[in-house]
Amino acid sequence: MNALVARLVAKRLGIMLISLLIIAFAVFFATELLPGDVAEILLGQSATPEAVAGLRKAMNLDQPAFLRFLSWLGGLLTGDLGRSYANNREVADLIAGRLANSLELAFVTTLFSVPIALTLGITAAMFRGSTYDRFVSVFTVSVISIPEFMVATLAVLIFAVYLKWLPALSVANDVQGIGELLRIYAMPVITLSFVVSAQMIRMTRAAVIDTLDTAYVEMALLKGASRPRIVLRHALPNALGPIVNAMALSLSYLLGGVIIVETIFNYPGVAKLMVDAVSTRDLPLIQSCAMIFCVSYLLLILIADLVAILANPRLRNQ
Protein backbone atom coordinates (compact mmCIF):
# COMPACT_ATOMS: atom_id res chain seq x y z
CA MET A 1 0.00 0.00 0.00
CA ASN A 2 2.73 2.45 0.96
CA ALA A 3 4.70 1.60 -2.12
CA LEU A 4 1.59 2.25 -4.17
CA VAL A 5 1.12 5.67 -2.61
CA ALA A 6 4.79 6.48 -3.04
CA ARG A 7 4.63 5.53 -6.68
CA LEU A 8 1.52 7.64 -7.14
CA VAL A 9 3.12 10.64 -5.45
CA ALA A 10 6.24 10.28 -7.57
CA LYS A 11 4.14 10.06 -10.70
CA ARG A 12 2.07 13.06 -9.76
CA LEU A 13 5.14 15.10 -8.89
CA GLY A 14 6.50 14.27 -12.29
CA ILE A 15 3.28 15.39 -13.92
CA MET A 16 3.43 18.49 -11.76
CA LEU A 17 6.79 19.41 -13.23
CA ILE A 18 5.38 19.08 -16.71
CA SER A 19 2.34 21.14 -15.72
CA LEU A 20 4.63 23.82 -14.35
CA LEU A 21 6.53 23.93 -17.58
CA ILE A 22 3.29 24.28 -19.50
CA ILE A 23 2.13 27.03 -17.16
CA ALA A 24 5.44 28.83 -17.53
CA PHE A 25 5.02 28.80 -21.30
CA ALA A 26 1.37 29.80 -21.10
CA VAL A 27 2.10 32.68 -18.75
CA PHE A 28 5.00 33.75 -20.92
CA PHE A 29 2.85 33.90 -24.02
CA ALA A 30 0.06 35.60 -22.12
CA THR A 31 2.50 38.24 -20.94
CA GLU A 32 3.67 38.69 -24.50
CA LEU A 33 0.06 39.18 -25.55
CA LEU A 34 -0.40 41.99 -23.09
CA PRO A 35 0.16 45.32 -24.79
CA GLY A 36 3.16 47.36 -23.72
CA ASP A 37 6.44 46.20 -22.26
CA VAL A 38 8.29 46.98 -19.10
CA ALA A 39 10.23 49.88 -20.64
CA GLU A 40 7.05 51.59 -21.82
CA ILE A 41 5.29 50.97 -18.56
CA LEU A 42 8.19 52.21 -16.44
CA LEU A 43 8.45 55.39 -18.46
CA GLY A 44 4.67 55.78 -18.30
CA GLN A 45 3.59 59.10 -19.65
CA SER A 46 7.19 59.96 -20.54
CA ALA A 47 7.49 57.04 -22.92
CA THR A 48 8.73 58.69 -26.08
CA PRO A 49 9.92 56.23 -28.75
CA GLU A 50 13.58 57.19 -28.26
CA ALA A 51 13.39 56.93 -24.50
CA VAL A 52 11.72 53.53 -24.75
CA ALA A 53 14.29 52.27 -27.23
CA GLY A 54 17.15 53.48 -25.02
CA LEU A 55 15.77 51.90 -21.90
CA ARG A 56 15.02 48.64 -23.67
CA LYS A 57 18.61 48.43 -24.81
CA ALA A 58 19.90 49.22 -21.35
CA MET A 59 17.71 46.52 -19.81
CA ASN A 60 18.63 43.96 -22.47
CA LEU A 61 15.03 43.88 -23.53
CA ASP A 62 16.08 44.16 -27.16
CA GLN A 63 16.82 40.45 -27.10
CA PRO A 64 13.95 38.33 -28.37
CA ALA A 65 11.51 37.69 -25.55
CA PHE A 66 11.73 33.98 -26.06
CA LEU A 67 15.47 33.96 -25.43
CA ARG A 68 14.93 35.92 -22.24
CA PHE A 69 12.31 33.41 -21.23
CA LEU A 70 14.66 30.51 -21.87
CA SER A 71 17.43 32.13 -19.90
CA TRP A 72 15.01 32.68 -17.05
CA LEU A 73 14.01 29.02 -17.28
CA GLY A 74 17.67 28.06 -17.29
CA GLY A 75 18.27 30.17 -14.21
CA LEU A 76 15.33 28.52 -12.52
CA LEU A 77 16.99 25.12 -12.88
CA THR A 78 19.92 26.41 -10.86
CA GLY A 79 17.56 27.93 -8.32
CA ASP A 80 17.97 31.46 -9.61
CA LEU A 81 14.68 33.28 -10.08
CA GLY A 82 16.32 36.16 -11.88
CA ARG A 83 16.18 39.87 -11.34
CA SER A 84 13.08 42.01 -11.45
CA TYR A 85 12.96 44.28 -14.47
CA ALA A 86 11.08 46.93 -12.56
CA ASN A 87 13.58 47.58 -9.82
CA ASN A 88 16.55 45.38 -10.60
CA ARG A 89 16.32 43.49 -7.33
CA GLU A 90 16.59 39.74 -6.89
CA VAL A 91 13.15 38.25 -7.51
CA ALA A 92 13.84 35.78 -4.72
CA ASP A 93 14.33 38.67 -2.27
CA LEU A 94 11.19 40.42 -3.44
CA ILE A 95 9.11 37.30 -3.09
CA ALA A 96 10.56 35.80 0.08
CA GLY A 97 9.10 38.25 2.58
CA ARG A 98 5.77 38.51 0.86
CA LEU A 99 5.38 34.78 0.40
CA ALA A 100 6.05 34.35 4.10
CA ASN A 101 3.33 36.91 4.82
CA SER A 102 0.86 35.19 2.51
CA LEU A 103 1.60 31.77 3.94
CA GLU A 104 1.18 33.09 7.46
CA LEU A 105 -2.19 34.56 6.62
CA ALA A 106 -3.25 31.42 4.78
CA PHE A 107 -2.10 29.26 7.67
CA VAL A 108 -3.93 31.26 10.32
CA THR A 109 -7.06 31.36 8.19
CA THR A 110 -6.88 27.61 7.62
CA LEU A 111 -6.37 27.00 11.31
CA PHE A 112 -9.42 29.06 12.00
CA SER A 113 -11.79 28.18 9.20
CA VAL A 114 -11.25 24.45 8.73
CA PRO A 115 -12.34 23.35 12.21
CA ILE A 116 -15.32 25.70 12.07
CA ALA A 117 -16.32 24.52 8.62
CA LEU A 118 -15.95 20.86 9.62
CA THR A 119 -17.92 21.31 12.80
CA LEU A 120 -20.73 23.21 11.13
CA GLY A 121 -20.82 20.86 8.15
CA ILE A 122 -20.85 17.68 10.22
CA THR A 123 -23.36 18.90 12.77
CA ALA A 124 -25.62 20.18 10.03
CA ALA A 125 -25.46 16.75 8.42
CA MET A 126 -26.21 15.01 11.71
CA PHE A 127 -29.26 17.10 12.30
CA ARG A 128 -30.34 17.16 8.70
CA GLY A 129 -33.60 18.92 8.11
CA SER A 130 -33.64 20.53 11.54
CA THR A 131 -33.94 24.26 12.14
CA TYR A 132 -30.26 24.25 12.97
CA ASP A 133 -29.44 22.70 9.62
CA ARG A 134 -31.53 25.26 7.79
CA PHE A 135 -29.95 28.04 9.76
CA VAL A 136 -26.45 26.87 8.84
CA SER A 137 -27.41 26.58 5.20
CA VAL A 138 -28.98 30.05 5.01
CA PHE A 139 -26.05 31.45 6.96
CA THR A 140 -23.43 30.05 4.60
CA VAL A 141 -25.21 31.31 1.53
CA SER A 142 -25.78 34.75 3.01
CA VAL A 143 -22.17 35.00 4.01
CA ILE A 144 -20.87 34.36 0.54
CA SER A 145 -23.55 36.57 -0.99
CA ILE A 146 -21.96 39.65 0.51
CA PRO A 147 -19.09 40.94 -1.57
CA GLU A 148 -15.73 40.37 0.07
CA PHE A 149 -14.80 44.04 -0.11
CA MET A 150 -17.99 44.89 1.71
CA VAL A 151 -17.34 42.41 4.52
CA ALA A 152 -13.83 43.79 4.87
CA THR A 153 -14.90 47.42 4.77
CA LEU A 154 -17.73 46.79 7.20
CA ALA A 155 -15.40 44.96 9.57
CA VAL A 156 -12.96 47.85 9.50
CA LEU A 157 -15.73 50.36 10.08
CA ILE A 158 -17.06 48.52 13.08
CA PHE A 159 -13.94 47.17 14.75
CA ALA A 160 -11.37 49.78 13.82
CA VAL A 161 -13.18 53.04 13.22
CA TYR A 162 -16.04 52.94 15.71
CA LEU A 163 -14.98 50.51 18.40
CA LYS A 164 -11.25 51.03 17.91
CA TRP A 165 -10.59 47.46 19.06
CA LEU A 166 -8.48 46.43 16.14
CA PRO A 167 -6.09 48.20 13.80
CA ALA A 168 -7.44 49.05 10.35
CA LEU A 169 -4.25 47.94 8.69
CA SER A 170 -2.62 44.57 9.05
CA VAL A 171 1.03 45.38 8.95
CA ALA A 172 3.12 43.02 10.98
CA ASN A 173 6.32 45.01 11.15
CA ASP A 174 7.22 45.09 14.78
CA VAL A 175 4.84 42.71 16.39
CA GLN A 176 5.23 42.11 20.06
CA GLY A 177 3.50 39.15 21.57
CA ILE A 178 0.78 36.83 20.50
CA GLY A 179 -1.99 39.20 21.55
CA GLU A 180 -0.92 41.83 19.08
CA LEU A 181 -0.47 39.22 16.39
CA LEU A 182 -4.06 38.11 16.95
CA ARG A 183 -5.26 41.68 16.78
CA ILE A 184 -3.47 42.24 13.51
CA TYR A 185 -4.71 39.06 11.89
CA ALA A 186 -8.24 39.18 13.28
CA MET A 187 -9.97 41.11 10.52
CA PRO A 188 -8.28 39.66 7.45
CA VAL A 189 -8.79 36.19 8.87
CA ILE A 190 -12.46 36.79 9.58
CA THR A 191 -13.01 38.19 6.10
CA LEU A 192 -11.18 35.34 4.42
CA SER A 193 -12.87 32.73 6.58
CA PHE A 194 -16.21 34.06 5.44
CA VAL A 195 -15.15 33.55 1.87
CA VAL A 196 -13.60 30.11 2.11
CA SER A 197 -15.77 28.44 4.73
CA ALA A 198 -19.05 28.40 2.87
CA GLN A 199 -17.94 25.95 0.23
CA MET A 200 -16.28 23.73 2.81
CA ILE A 201 -19.36 23.71 5.04
CA ARG A 202 -21.68 22.80 2.20
CA MET A 203 -19.46 20.08 0.82
CA THR A 204 -18.78 18.58 4.23
CA ARG A 205 -22.47 18.43 4.95
CA ALA A 206 -23.26 16.90 1.56
CA ALA A 207 -20.51 14.30 1.81
CA VAL A 208 -21.37 13.25 5.35
CA ILE A 209 -25.06 12.95 4.50
CA ASP A 210 -24.13 10.85 1.50
CA THR A 211 -22.26 8.34 3.61
CA LEU A 212 -24.82 8.42 6.39
CA ASP A 213 -27.31 7.09 3.84
CA THR A 214 -25.28 4.04 2.97
CA ALA A 215 -26.11 0.60 4.16
CA TYR A 216 -23.17 -0.03 6.39
CA VAL A 217 -23.87 3.06 8.46
CA GLU A 218 -27.41 1.80 8.85
CA MET A 219 -25.89 -1.46 9.94
CA ALA A 220 -23.74 0.29 12.51
CA LEU A 221 -26.81 2.09 13.74
CA LEU A 222 -28.59 -1.23 14.12
CA LYS A 223 -25.67 -2.56 16.06
CA GLY A 224 -26.37 0.19 18.52
CA ALA A 225 -23.45 2.53 17.95
CA SER A 226 -24.12 6.08 19.12
CA ARG A 227 -24.76 8.78 16.55
CA PRO A 228 -21.63 10.86 17.11
CA ARG A 229 -19.61 7.67 17.04
CA ILE A 230 -21.15 6.64 13.75
CA VAL A 231 -20.45 9.99 12.22
CA LEU A 232 -16.89 10.20 13.43
CA ARG A 233 -15.87 6.57 13.03
CA HIS A 234 -17.85 5.47 10.01
CA ALA A 235 -19.27 8.32 7.99
CA LEU A 236 -16.46 10.84 8.22
CA PRO A 237 -13.59 8.68 6.99
CA ASN A 238 -15.66 7.72 3.98
CA ALA A 239 -16.73 11.26 3.28
CA LEU A 240 -13.17 12.49 3.56
CA GLY A 241 -12.43 12.43 -0.17
CA PRO A 242 -14.92 15.05 -1.32
CA ILE A 243 -14.41 17.11 1.83
CA VAL A 244 -10.68 17.34 1.32
CA ASN A 245 -11.24 18.14 -2.33
CA ALA A 246 -13.47 21.08 -1.47
CA MET A 247 -10.95 22.19 1.12
CA ALA A 248 -8.09 22.08 -1.33
CA LEU A 249 -10.01 24.24 -3.77
CA SER A 250 -11.01 26.69 -1.07
CA LEU A 251 -7.56 26.93 0.42
CA SER A 252 -5.83 27.35 -2.91
CA TYR A 253 -7.74 30.62 -3.05
CA LEU A 254 -5.90 31.85 0.02
CA LEU A 255 -2.66 32.48 -1.82
CA GLY A 256 -3.51 34.00 -5.16
CA GLY A 257 -7.08 35.11 -4.71
CA VAL A 258 -6.83 37.33 -1.70
CA ILE A 259 -6.05 40.49 -3.61
CA ILE A 260 -9.02 42.36 -2.17
CA VAL A 261 -8.10 41.54 1.40
CA GLU A 262 -4.48 42.43 0.74
CA THR A 263 -5.58 45.74 -0.71
CA ILE A 264 -8.04 46.76 1.97
CA PHE A 265 -5.88 45.74 4.91
CA ASN A 266 -2.73 46.82 3.14
CA TYR A 267 -1.27 43.40 3.75
CA PRO A 268 1.90 42.82 1.75
CA GLY A 269 1.31 39.38 0.24
CA VAL A 270 2.09 37.67 -3.05
CA ALA A 271 -1.25 38.36 -4.73
CA LYS A 272 -0.59 42.07 -4.86
CA LEU A 273 2.97 41.35 -5.90
CA MET A 274 1.73 39.46 -8.92
CA VAL A 275 -0.72 42.21 -9.86
CA ASP A 276 2.15 44.68 -9.67
CA ALA A 277 4.30 42.41 -11.76
CA VAL A 278 1.63 42.10 -14.41
CA SER A 279 1.04 45.82 -14.53
CA THR A 280 4.76 46.48 -14.97
CA ARG A 281 5.19 43.55 -17.39
CA ASP A 282 7.94 42.31 -15.14
CA LEU A 283 8.43 38.92 -16.78
CA PRO A 284 10.73 37.24 -14.23
CA LEU A 285 8.49 38.33 -11.38
CA ILE A 286 5.26 37.33 -13.15
CA GLN A 287 6.73 33.92 -13.93
CA SER A 288 7.94 33.35 -10.40
CA CYS A 289 4.61 34.34 -8.88
CA ALA A 290 2.72 32.17 -11.35
CA MET A 291 4.98 29.25 -10.42
CA ILE A 292 4.21 29.78 -6.75
CA PHE A 293 0.47 29.81 -7.29
CA CYS A 294 0.74 26.78 -9.49
CA VAL A 295 2.88 24.75 -7.15
CA SER A 296 0.65 25.52 -4.20
CA TYR A 297 -2.49 24.72 -6.16
CA LEU A 298 -1.11 21.48 -7.57
CA LEU A 299 0.24 20.40 -4.19
CA LEU A 300 -3.08 21.03 -2.55
CA ILE A 301 -5.00 19.01 -5.09
CA LEU A 302 -2.38 16.29 -4.96
CA ILE A 303 -2.94 16.03 -1.23
CA ALA A 304 -6.69 16.06 -1.79
CA ASP A 305 -6.45 13.31 -4.37
CA LEU A 306 -4.23 11.23 -2.12
CA VAL A 307 -6.63 11.52 0.77
CA ALA A 308 -9.51 10.64 -1.53
CA ILE A 309 -7.68 7.56 -2.76
CA LEU A 310 -6.62 6.43 0.68
CA ALA A 311 -10.10 6.97 2.05
CA ASN A 312 -11.87 5.10 -0.72
CA PRO A 313 -10.70 1.53 -1.19
CA ARG A 314 -12.61 1.26 -4.44
CA LEU A 315 -10.40 3.93 -5.96
CA ARG A 316 -7.27 2.43 -4.49
CA ASN A 317 -7.20 -0.35 -7.03
CA GLN A 318 -7.60 1.79 -10.08
Binding site: I23, L33, S137, G241, N245, M274
Partner: protein
Protein backbone atom coordinates in the same frame (compact mmCIF):
# COMPACT_ATOMS: atom_id res chain seq x y z
CA UNK B 1 -43.34 -11.17 0.69
CA UNK B 2 -42.28 -9.11 3.67
CA UNK B 3 -41.99 -5.38 3.34
CA UNK B 4 -39.19 -4.21 5.54
CA UNK B 5 -38.63 -1.27 3.28
CA UNK B 6 -37.50 2.08 4.69
CA UNK B 7 -40.27 4.37 5.75
CA UNK B 8 -39.56 7.08 3.18
CA UNK B 9 -42.48 7.67 0.87
CA UNK B 10 -42.01 8.10 -2.80
CA UNK B 11 -42.54 11.38 -4.66
CA UNK B 12 -43.71 11.15 -8.17
CA UNK B 13 -44.64 14.72 -8.96
CA UNK B 14 -42.39 17.69 -8.42
CA UNK B 15 -43.34 18.69 -4.93
CA UNK B 16 -41.36 21.83 -4.21
CA UNK B 17 -41.91 23.06 -0.70
CA UNK B 18 -42.81 26.59 0.32
CA UNK B 19 -39.23 27.77 0.76
CA UNK B 20 -38.37 26.55 -2.70
CA UNK B 21 -41.37 28.32 -4.14
CA UNK B 22 -40.34 31.59 -2.49
CA UNK B 23 -36.88 31.15 -3.96
CA UNK B 24 -38.27 30.48 -7.39
CA UNK B 25 -40.59 33.47 -7.11
CA UNK B 26 -37.73 35.83 -6.29
CA UNK B 27 -35.65 34.50 -9.17
CA UNK B 28 -38.61 34.89 -11.46
CA UNK B 29 -39.15 38.41 -10.18
CA UNK B 30 -35.59 39.42 -10.99
CA UNK B 31 -35.80 37.78 -14.39
CA UNK B 32 -38.90 39.79 -15.20
CA UNK B 33 -37.14 42.92 -13.96
CA UNK B 34 -34.13 42.10 -16.09
CA UNK B 35 -36.29 41.87 -19.19
CA UNK B 36 -38.53 44.84 -18.44
CA UNK B 37 -35.85 47.12 -16.96
CA UNK B 38 -35.60 49.67 -19.80
CA UNK B 39 -39.35 50.27 -19.67
CA UNK B 40 -39.81 50.48 -15.92
CA UNK B 41 -36.73 52.53 -15.01
CA UNK B 42 -37.90 55.99 -14.03
CA UNK B 43 -34.73 57.74 -15.20
CA UNK B 44 -31.96 57.02 -17.71
CA UNK B 45 -29.18 55.11 -15.88
CA UNK B 46 -26.52 57.66 -16.71
CA UNK B 47 -28.48 60.77 -15.90
CA UNK B 48 -27.45 62.86 -12.94
CA UNK B 49 -30.82 63.67 -11.50
CA UNK B 50 -29.83 65.24 -8.22
CA UNK B 51 -26.96 67.46 -7.21
CA UNK B 52 -27.01 65.76 -3.84
CA UNK B 53 -25.13 62.47 -3.61
CA UNK B 54 -25.69 59.33 -1.60
CA UNK B 55 -29.18 60.73 -1.34
CA UNK B 56 -31.66 59.10 1.06
CA UNK B 57 -34.76 57.19 0.10
CA UNK B 58 -37.42 59.67 -0.99
CA UNK B 59 -40.67 59.67 -2.91
CA UNK B 60 -38.83 60.99 -5.92
CA UNK B 61 -35.91 58.56 -5.70
CA UNK B 62 -37.18 55.37 -4.15
CA UNK B 63 -33.74 53.90 -3.57
CA UNK B 64 -31.94 57.21 -3.11
CA UNK B 65 -29.15 58.43 -5.34
CA UNK B 66 -25.62 57.21 -5.94
CA UNK B 67 -22.24 58.90 -5.60
CA UNK B 68 -22.88 61.04 -8.66
CA UNK B 69 -26.48 61.78 -7.85
CA UNK B 70 -27.95 59.22 -10.27
CA UNK B 71 -31.19 57.44 -9.49
CA UNK B 72 -30.42 54.16 -7.72
CA UNK B 73 -33.75 52.53 -8.55
CA UNK B 74 -33.05 52.85 -12.27
CA UNK B 75 -29.50 51.64 -11.80
CA UNK B 76 -30.54 48.61 -9.79
CA UNK B 77 -33.27 47.72 -12.27
CA UNK B 78 -30.89 47.94 -15.20
CA UNK B 79 -28.21 46.20 -13.16
CA UNK B 80 -30.51 43.20 -12.85
CA UNK B 81 -30.21 42.77 -16.59
CA UNK B 82 -26.45 42.38 -16.43
CA UNK B 83 -26.17 40.54 -13.15
CA UNK B 84 -28.87 37.97 -13.81
CA UNK B 85 -28.12 37.59 -17.50
CA UNK B 86 -24.36 37.34 -17.37
CA UNK B 87 -24.21 35.22 -14.23
CA UNK B 88 -26.79 32.75 -15.40
CA UNK B 89 -25.30 32.47 -18.85
CA UNK B 90 -21.75 32.00 -17.65
CA UNK B 91 -22.53 29.63 -14.81
CA UNK B 92 -24.61 27.52 -17.16
CA UNK B 93 -21.86 27.34 -19.74
CA UNK B 94 -19.19 26.70 -17.11
CA UNK B 95 -21.17 23.92 -15.45
CA UNK B 96 -22.22 22.39 -18.74
CA UNK B 97 -18.63 22.20 -19.97
CA UNK B 98 -17.23 21.19 -16.60
CA UNK B 99 -19.80 18.53 -15.78
CA UNK B 100 -19.82 17.03 -19.26
CA UNK B 101 -16.05 16.78 -19.43
CA UNK B 102 -15.88 15.60 -15.83
CA UNK B 103 -18.26 12.72 -16.48
CA UNK B 104 -16.53 11.76 -19.71
CA UNK B 105 -13.17 11.77 -17.97
CA UNK B 106 -14.49 9.65 -15.12
CA UNK B 107 -16.07 7.08 -17.43
CA UNK B 108 -13.35 6.86 -20.03
CA UNK B 109 -10.52 7.37 -17.53
CA UNK B 110 -7.01 6.44 -18.64
CA UNK B 111 -4.92 8.91 -20.58
CA UNK B 112 -7.88 11.06 -21.61
CA UNK B 113 -8.70 11.65 -17.98
CA UNK B 114 -5.08 12.22 -17.02
CA UNK B 115 -4.38 14.76 -19.73
CA UNK B 116 -7.64 16.63 -19.32
CA UNK B 117 -7.30 16.75 -15.55
CA UNK B 118 -3.74 18.06 -15.65
CA UNK B 119 -4.61 20.58 -18.30
CA UNK B 120 -7.58 21.96 -16.43
CA UNK B 121 -5.66 21.96 -13.16
CA UNK B 122 -3.00 24.03 -14.83
CA UNK B 123 -5.63 26.37 -16.25
CA UNK B 124 -7.21 26.70 -12.85
CA UNK B 125 -3.99 27.75 -11.20
CA UNK B 126 -3.54 30.81 -13.40
CA UNK B 127 -4.77 33.77 -11.38
CA UNK B 128 -8.08 35.03 -12.74
CA UNK B 129 -6.97 38.64 -12.79
CA UNK B 130 -4.10 37.85 -15.10
CA UNK B 131 -6.42 35.81 -17.26
CA UNK B 132 -8.93 38.65 -17.45
CA UNK B 133 -6.27 41.17 -18.44
CA UNK B 134 -4.96 38.97 -21.20
CA UNK B 135 -8.44 38.43 -22.54
CA UNK B 136 -9.18 42.15 -22.71
CA UNK B 137 -5.82 42.80 -24.31
CA UNK B 138 -6.24 40.05 -26.84
CA UNK B 139 -9.86 40.23 -27.93
CA UNK B 140 -11.26 43.40 -26.48
CA UNK B 141 -14.29 43.63 -24.31
CA UNK B 142 -17.94 42.83 -24.77
CA UNK B 143 -20.65 41.05 -22.88
CA UNK B 144 -20.11 37.82 -24.77
CA UNK B 145 -16.37 37.93 -24.12
CA UNK B 146 -17.16 38.48 -20.45
CA UNK B 147 -19.53 35.52 -20.33
CA UNK B 148 -17.01 33.24 -22.01
CA UNK B 149 -14.15 34.45 -19.84
CA UNK B 150 -16.06 33.69 -16.68
CA UNK B 151 -17.15 30.35 -18.09
CA UNK B 152 -13.54 29.44 -18.81
CA UNK B 153 -12.48 30.57 -15.35
CA UNK B 154 -15.12 28.48 -13.64
CA UNK B 155 -15.30 25.40 -15.83
CA UNK B 156 -12.16 23.75 -14.36
CA UNK B 157 -13.56 23.92 -10.84
CA UNK B 158 -16.83 22.49 -12.02
CA UNK B 159 -14.95 19.79 -13.91
CA UNK B 160 -12.94 18.76 -10.88
CA UNK B 161 -16.01 18.63 -8.75
CA UNK B 162 -18.12 16.69 -11.23
CA UNK B 163 -15.29 14.32 -12.01
CA UNK B 164 -14.75 13.51 -8.33
CA UNK B 165 -18.43 12.72 -7.98
CA UNK B 166 -18.59 10.78 -11.23
CA UNK B 167 -15.56 8.69 -10.32
CA UNK B 168 -17.37 7.56 -7.19
CA UNK B 169 -20.53 6.76 -9.09
CA UNK B 170 -18.54 5.07 -11.80
CA UNK B 171 -17.16 2.65 -9.23
CA UNK B 172 -20.71 1.53 -8.42
CA UNK B 173 -21.87 -1.87 -9.56
CA UNK B 174 -24.83 -0.59 -11.53
CA UNK B 175 -22.44 1.20 -13.86
CA UNK B 176 -20.46 -2.00 -14.19
CA UNK B 177 -23.68 -3.81 -15.01
CA UNK B 178 -24.42 -1.29 -17.71
CA UNK B 179 -20.95 -1.73 -19.10
CA UNK B 180 -21.29 -5.50 -19.01
CA UNK B 181 -24.53 -5.12 -20.87
CA UNK B 182 -22.55 -3.43 -23.61
CA UNK B 183 -23.89 0.10 -23.15
CA UNK B 184 -21.99 2.93 -24.82
CA UNK B 185 -20.22 5.76 -23.05
CA UNK B 186 -22.91 8.27 -23.88
CA UNK B 187 -25.68 6.15 -22.37
CA UNK B 188 -23.64 5.40 -19.28
CA UNK B 189 -22.97 9.10 -18.73
CA UNK B 190 -26.48 10.25 -19.43
CA UNK B 191 -28.49 7.55 -17.70
CA UNK B 192 -26.29 6.06 -15.03
CA UNK B 193 -23.84 8.76 -13.95
CA UNK B 194 -25.62 12.06 -14.48
CA UNK B 195 -28.81 11.36 -12.48
CA UNK B 196 -26.63 10.36 -9.55
CA UNK B 197 -24.52 13.47 -9.42
CA UNK B 198 -27.18 16.01 -10.31
CA UNK B 199 -27.91 16.84 -6.65
CA UNK B 200 -24.43 17.98 -5.67
CA UNK B 201 -23.89 19.42 -9.13
CA UNK B 202 -26.88 21.68 -8.63
CA UNK B 203 -25.63 22.71 -5.19
CA UNK B 204 -22.32 23.50 -6.81
CA UNK B 205 -24.12 25.41 -9.55
CA UNK B 206 -25.76 27.56 -6.91
CA UNK B 207 -22.47 28.34 -5.19
CA UNK B 208 -20.73 29.08 -8.44
CA UNK B 209 -23.57 31.37 -9.40
CA UNK B 210 -23.00 33.34 -6.22
CA UNK B 211 -19.28 33.60 -6.86
CA UNK B 212 -19.86 34.80 -10.40
CA UNK B 213 -22.28 37.51 -9.29
CA UNK B 214 -19.50 38.81 -7.07
CA UNK B 215 -16.69 38.25 -9.55
CA UNK B 216 -18.47 40.43 -12.11
CA UNK B 217 -17.79 43.60 -10.19
CA UNK B 218 -14.11 42.77 -10.05
CA UNK B 219 -13.88 42.12 -13.76
CA UNK B 220 -15.69 45.30 -14.68
CA UNK B 221 -12.84 47.13 -12.99
CA UNK B 222 -10.45 45.48 -15.41
CA UNK B 223 -12.50 47.06 -18.15
CA UNK B 224 -14.02 43.70 -18.95
CA UNK B 225 -17.69 43.58 -19.73
CA UNK B 226 -20.44 45.90 -18.59
CA UNK B 227 -19.60 49.37 -19.84
CA UNK B 228 -20.54 52.62 -18.12
CA UNK B 229 -22.97 54.11 -17.42
CA UNK B 230 -24.41 50.63 -16.90
CA UNK B 231 -23.19 48.51 -14.06
CA UNK B 232 -23.94 45.15 -12.55
CA UNK B 233 -24.95 44.96 -8.91
CA UNK B 234 -21.50 44.07 -7.65
CA UNK B 235 -20.09 47.10 -9.40
CA UNK B 236 -22.86 49.23 -7.90
CA UNK B 237 -21.84 48.12 -4.43
CA UNK B 238 -18.23 48.73 -5.25
CA UNK B 239 -18.62 52.21 -6.70
CA UNK B 240 -20.78 53.30 -3.79
CA UNK B 241 -18.83 51.61 -1.00
CA UNK B 242 -17.85 55.05 0.31
CA UNK B 243 -21.46 55.53 1.39
CA UNK B 244 -21.33 52.50 3.68
CA UNK B 245 -20.30 54.48 6.74
CA UNK B 246 -23.50 56.47 6.71
CA UNK B 247 -25.64 53.62 5.50
CA UNK B 248 -26.42 55.14 2.12
CA UNK B 249 -29.13 53.24 0.23
CA UNK B 250 -26.80 53.39 -2.77
CA UNK B 251 -24.65 50.69 -1.20
CA UNK B 252 -27.32 48.86 0.83
CA UNK B 253 -29.85 48.37 -1.97
CA UNK B 254 -27.60 46.61 -4.49
CA UNK B 255 -26.20 44.47 -1.66
CA UNK B 256 -29.71 43.39 -0.77
CA UNK B 257 -30.43 42.75 -4.44
CA UNK B 258 -27.38 40.49 -4.69
CA UNK B 259 -28.25 38.68 -1.48
CA UNK B 260 -31.88 38.21 -2.49
CA UNK B 261 -30.87 36.68 -5.81
CA UNK B 262 -28.10 34.44 -4.55
CA UNK B 263 -29.99 33.26 -1.50
CA UNK B 264 -33.09 32.49 -3.51
CA UNK B 265 -31.11 30.54 -6.09
CA UNK B 266 -29.74 28.43 -3.26
CA UNK B 267 -33.10 28.22 -1.55
CA UNK B 268 -34.60 26.83 -4.72
CA UNK B 269 -31.79 24.35 -5.24
CA UNK B 270 -31.78 23.19 -1.64
CA UNK B 271 -35.49 22.58 -1.80
CA UNK B 272 -35.70 20.89 -5.14
CA UNK B 273 -37.79 17.72 -5.28
CA UNK B 274 -36.41 14.93 -3.16
CA UNK B 275 -35.88 12.80 -6.23
CA UNK B 276 -33.39 15.19 -7.71
CA UNK B 277 -31.34 15.88 -4.66
CA UNK B 278 -31.96 12.53 -3.05
CA UNK B 279 -28.52 11.13 -3.57
CA UNK B 280 -26.39 13.55 -1.78
CA UNK B 281 -27.80 16.90 -0.99
Amino acid sequence: MTMTAPARKGHFGFHVNAVGIIGAAIILFWMVVAIAAPWISPYPVGQIVDFDYYGPISSQFWFGTDYLGRDMLSRVLMGARYTVGISLASVTIACFIGVTLGMIAAVISGWFDAILSRFLDALNSIPSLMFGLVVVAAVGSSISVLVLTIAVLYAPGSYRFARALAVNVNAMDFVTVARARGEGTLYTIREEIFPNIIGPVLADFGLRFVFIVLLLSGLSFLGLGVQPPNADWGALVRENIGGLSFGAPAVIVPSIAIASLTISVNMLIDNLPQRIRDRSE
